[in-house]
């Protein structure tokens, strides 16, 4: 039992209130006599009910709301609003970085130009740690491409559970994990590879070792990108170009979603 082929689009039009009066009447009359179309129309209605459950729709986080609202205080002009939106909570923020960020934002709508580090030196420390991991033979403590090996290895070594995700199908095979030391605390480092390149993904609980905020930058030829997700801070570092590192971040963040 299915809808009449020539009526199908009309059923959608009726559901959406997009038919004119004449067609609405004709379509409703047809529904009364055609069980196939009637059943199809009911299916469409129950789909709508499911989709319009309020929880389906995503809402902006309070942090995002506050940031956008702050940028639109009555005294703002588009330029000062840009400064607010690009610098985020304004602290230790160099003029150079501000103008670079604003210029870059104006150029293209790439999302991730929000350059700020609330903990000065964190970026340096991450880069140093990345370099050290490559120089010393201390890239990996537990070598495995299986997350069921890497994830439990962290148990008892760090006081949080870093998500270990396999991304081989996205072109970033898991290489292993190790412990590292950033800003005075032990953090998890999850190691991925991309061709001959190494990606160190540092993970620690949000708010303890300083927050990098959602930011990305290039430093000493290394790309860095940081974000917060599910109460953890993530910083990915590699000598890959920014585009590929963003791709890594997007794949990881999507699958790490709770």
């Amino acid at each position: 039992m299915s809808a009449c082929g020539d009526k199908e689009l009309q059923l959608h039009g009726l559901l959406d209130g997009e038919l004119d009066a004449v067609n609405t009447l004709a379509c409703e009359a047809h529904l009364r006599v055609c069980p196939g179309c009637g059943a199809e129309f009911q299916r469409l209605q129950s789909l709508r009910t499911a989709l319009r459950a309020p929880a389906v729709r995503f809402a902006a986080s309070p942090a995002l709301r506050a940031r956008v609202a702050a940028a639109l205080e009555p005294s703002r002009t588009p330029d000062t609003a840009a400064a607010v939106l690009t610098q985020r909570p304004a602290r230790s923020f160099s003029i150079w970085a501000a103008s670079a960020a604003v210029a870059a934002l104006a150029a293209v709508c790439v999302s991730l130009m929000l350059v700020y580090w609330s903990s000065p030196g964190l970026a340096d420390e991450l880069v140093a740690s990345h370099v050290r991991s490559l120089l010393a033979t201390h890239l990996i403590d537990v070598e495995a491409s299986d997350r069921h090996v890497v994830k439990p290895w962290f148990n008892g070594k760090v006081d949080f559970a870093p998500p270990v995700i396999e991304l081989a199908d996205a072109g970033f095979p898991l290489a292993g994990g190790r412990l590292d030391y950033i800003h005075g605390r032990v953090v998890a480092a999850i190691v991925y590879r991309r061709r001959q390149h190494v990606i160190n993904l540092f993970v620690w609980p949000a708010g303890v070792a300083g927050s990098a905020g959602p930011a990305s930058l290039r430093q000493d030829g290394y790309s860095l990108t940081c974000w917060t997700q599910a109460g953890l801070e993530f910083c990915a570092i590699s000598d890959l170009d920014r585009g590929e590192l963003q791709q890594f971040r997007a794949s990881f963040a999507q699958r790490a979603r709770p």
């Binding site: 789909l47 499911a50 809402a59 609003a81 293209v108 791709q247």
Partner: protein
Amino acid sequence: MGRQATHGTATAHAGEFKRLVLPHLDAAYNLARFLSRDPVAADDIVQEAFLRAFRAFDSYRGGDSKSWLLAIVRNCSFSWAKASRVGVGGSAPDPDELADPLQETPESSLVRGSEIEQLRAMIEKLPDPFRETLILRELEELSYKQIAEITGAPVGTVMSRLARARQMLSDKLEPRR
């Protein structure tokens, strides 16, 4: 209108923007989130979209502010997708995957909790044009005409995309006998 060249111009400008455009923040986020399928990117896309909208507010000539903003969000989402997709993987889902977006793997059964999550996952698996049309109609409750304006597609195309999107979703929800 009401934005005469007085020294209060900037203030009026920001105030009016706040009154007309800011209420659509959730709509902007919802669209960005479903288009990018990435919570972190969605934040960045929305910020960029508001910035662009604020800068372009002078050229806004009245009319439907929600459609106006969402068109900007859509552009920003596509710029983001272009910038973040360098070859491998990318956002275009494998058509085979569409056949069963909820194939059971240990990960997926852990990840998807509630029915809402399942529904969101199914929507995210829809190919771009169908996904955006469905979001704009069912979640943002825009008219065919508004959707046509935002996506730049003719109203007829909007209708057929919507019908197809609903078909794909309801086949997953309750397979036809």
